[in-house]
Symmetry: C2
Subunit: 309 residues, 2 copies
């Protein structure tokens, strides 16, 4: 059977209980599934990064929809093995771990600065029929209306995101634990190579102020072992020995398939995921003696990930 | 000079710039200070716990105001070196690290179960004059009105907390990264020895459902290195070698003073801290091209801590 789209695992919502391998071509196939089924997607090797540290392996999913220019330049740097031998030089526990060529803190760099990609216009169907033919709508799985930091939050293909309007308007990726973003100076267009990973309580006040271009999908425990700097000195780590170093940072598609991890990410558009959202919002479990308010923090909704052997 | 209260450091709000040692008997002395000064408090050795792991040292501040019974039994266990040789047997990255005698997952235990201490009545001045003489009001530094999970959030002597009314009403400690709480089964009064530390995005839906009785004040980077269990199997770690073990867990007052760390915690009642709150809420820095909403997440406000040599 010819498969133009990625293969997908389908799984009962009760995680890891029953595993049925099945093939669906697009999300459009989902309605054919029994209610509550959770779809699993593989990662696209052309938008997946393997970050190898002394501490272990971290897998990052890039997001070219929200940050096409940043992702393009970043991939070029990866192909040049730019990050190999660089380090996490600014690490503040509970906040961010930052790595790169240190141009963000004043070191000279020949890498071009990047245009800010803080938010996008919600994509609407082109009026031109030819353009409309290949046009793909963005998916949106709503999570919270009236979030403190945004009018609407939700998931866009696995990524925590926010919008200013229910239809149309602006959309942006939110700063949650595991968020992968480009550091910059005061100027909006001053990012270059230095990226950061959020390692603590979501610093949502940074939303729409920095270019988020990916998220950690595997190895946050590894990221949490990255060596910290002094919090009261802005996290800057002076001594080489006190830093965590990048052994390699490469695009999955440049690796031998045997070297890649067989990672499957829950489809945030699938009915099973939406059912998980409902169960988290409305907690009827007898464990809860005080019923929590029916609200969801977009950064406190885990997107399940599985590693197949 | 006789000092009935703890000595305090006073410091200009610009952290670590100018350090002036000074003695104040109570917070009431604060108005005599120049505006914006940040007070620092030492930890009370009778309510401070040293948790020694292979990964390093963690310092926890207990809260007997909110959980007097839990703290009392916990201190008794510490004095018996109960936790020495026990392990973190349930660890879910981004959620909690749980340790103890595993009675929470069904192991037999002779330790008595604890009464739930999920919230307190806001203490009001006793009508009886004699009782009122020694009565101490609770401090409250407001952070957010209309937080998604509580009508009011704020700090109570360094602890992130919430209330249902602006005056009086109920008060409770909130689940934030670093929160130290007692695990339990479905019954409210089933906690015993198994505690957990929050290691990820604040699970605020647990507020008022578990007894929070402390917070990590030093060594969250160490906590973040605790070995994780499999997320899809509820974090339970089967093999001994895959777990992080407790070398010792003792009350600071039982340690030789020379063995203790000289830790100072920012006073959340001090004018300097309130100034920090205002600056975080109203971000006028030129770094911000999109001005963030003027809201504060109680769990995303770091309480500064310093280690003196």
């Amino acid at each position: 059977m010819q498969m133009p789209g990625p293969a997908r695992y389908v799984m009962a919502a009760r995680l890891a209980k029953r595993l049925v391998l099945s093939c669906f071509l697009t999300t459009a196939a989902a309605p054919a599934l029994a209610a509550g089924e959770l779809l699993w997607n593989p990662l696209d090797p052309d938008n997946t990064v393997y970050l190898e540290l002394q501490e272990g392996t971290v897998v990052i999913e890039l997001n070219p929809v929200f940050a096409p220019k940043t992702v393009k330049q970043f991939k070029k740097l990866l192909s040049e093995r730019f990050y190999q031998g660089l380090s996490f030089y600014r690490v503040i526990d509970g906040f961010v771990a930052q790595a790169g060529d240190e141009s963000d803190i004043g070191k000279a760099s020949k890498i071009p600065t990047l245009e800010a990609e803080f938010q996008i216009d919600w994509p609407t169907r082109p009026r031109d029929k030819n353009k409309a033919k290949n046009w793909q709508p963005l998916s949106w799985t709503p999570v919270q209306k009236g979030d403190p930091f945004a009018p609407y939050t939700g998931f866009i293909d696995g990524f925590p995101a926010a919008r200013d309007k229910e239809t149309g308007g602006k959309a942006w990726l939110t700063h949650c634990p595991g968020t992968f973003a480009m550091a910059r100076n005061d100027g909006a267009d001053t990012g270059r190579t230095d990226f950061y990973i959020v390692i603590g309580q979501a610093p949502r006040y940074l939303d729409r102020n920095l270019t988020i271009f990916g998220r950690v999908v595997w190895g946050m425990d590894v990221v949490q072992r990255i060596k910290r700097g002094p919090t009261l000195k802005n996290g800057i780590i002076v001594k080489d020995l006190d830093r965590s170093w990048i052994k390699s940072m490469r695009l999955a598609s440049s690796l031998d398939p045997a070297q890649r991890l067989d990672i499957w990410v829950a489809d945030t558009n699938s009915e099973g995921f939406k059912q998980m959202l409902r169960a988290r919002r409305d907690r009827n479990d007898k464990f809860f003696h005080h019923k929590p308010p029916a609200v969801l923090d977009i950064c406190q909704v885990p997107v399940p990930v599985r590693l197949e052997n």
